[in-house]
């Protein structure tokens, strides 16, 4: 719908990394992630097998992030989120599970560039060295003063998720950390 307005209208910043606010379909699934019916339904609707602890799973434009032993964040294109959420909820009608479209509740920022590890390491109490955090992992944590989650798609791409209401704050701390003159040069490679 043309009335869709992201929190920051697709804001961008170019510095140590290129930051871009993305429209993103996101569905929270609460349920036993090892329950076969739930695993099968997710596979059916999102094309991925639910990932293991702190892992991600992707199949093209859809994917799943492990959030806790009984919570996953399912990803898809923004426009498909409600349909997919309804579809999954219908498939899980007999299971003990809760499916909620949270695409609008969150803001997503893509970080692109070689220095993304440093930009994140300025804000999150997480070991961002290449031997500790790799593509395929997801981390829920705190970035400066707000809750956040992030994962790496590849060596030079990461996505950061936060609540929509603090999108401007997140964009502010990310772009401040990504100031061209603020390189730390800590991580090899």
């Amino acid at each position: 719908m043309s009335d869709v307005a992201l929190a920051l209208g697709g804001a961008t910043f170019d510095g140590l990394v290129k930051i871009e606010e993305l429209a993103h379909g996101m569905i929270t699934l609460r349920g036993d992630l090892t329950d076969k019916a739930i695993v099968a339904a997710v596979k059916d609707v999102f094309g991925v097998t639910l990932p293991g602890t702190r892992e991600t799973a992707f199949a093209g434009s859809t994917g799943a992030l492990w959030m806790s032993p009984d919570e996953a964040l399912l990803l898809c294109p923004y426009d498909e989120a409600q349909t997919k959420a309804d579809d999954l909820a219908a498939k899980l009608a007999d299971a003990h599970a809760l499916v909620v479209n949270v695409s609008d509740a969150r803001a997503v920022f893509q970080l692109k560039g070689r220095m993304l590890r440093e930009v994140i390491a300025k804000l999150a109490p997480v070991d961002m060295s290449p031997d500790a955090f790799t593509p395929g992992m997801v981390r829920r944590t705190r970035m400066a003063q707000v809750a956040a989650a992030f994962w790496m798609d590849d060596a030079s791409t990461a996505r950061v998720v936060c609540f929509r209401s603090v999108a401007a704050y997140m964009f502010g701390i990310l772009s401040t950390s990504a100031d061209d003159a603020a390189a730390v040069n800590h991580f090899a490679g």
């Binding site: 806790s68 829920r140 705190r142």
Partner: protein, 109 residues
């Protein structure tokens, strides 16, 4: 700043990711309980210099409540375990007994 490993997501989390929840293994007393039982449940807490069983929540993380066995004096963490238990598991107690012979906590020794 404490470093405590969340047993649910495996993250060795620094304190800023965590929220402390006080003493673990409290038994809830409801409407039919005696004044003494209810007062004990609501207000009376262990305050040991030494081994303590505590509740923590990985609030800036997986969101799960868990329990930690920790020495309030040296800050050593003997282990963390599920919050969904009414008493400390045996492996945790064995670890504590090996490191702190003669420790006591409530009626656990």
């Amino acid at each position: 700043m404490l470093l405590i490993t969340c047993p649910y997501c495996g993250v060795a989390a620094e304190e800023t990711e965590l929220h402390g929840g006080g003493e673990a293994h409290l038994k809830r007393f409801g409407p039919d309980s005696s004044d003494d039982d209810f007062t004990g449940y609501l207000f009376h807490r262990e305050n040991p210099k030494g081994v303590h069983f505590e509740r923590w929540r990985h609030v800036n993380g997986c969101g799960k409540w868990f329990h930690a066995a920790r020495c309030t004096n040296t800050l050593e963490v003997f282990g963390t375990y599920s919050a969904q238990t009414t008493e400390p598991p045996k492996d945790i107690l064995d670890t504590i007994r090996a490191k702190r012979p003669g420790f006591k906590w409530r009626d656990i020794a």
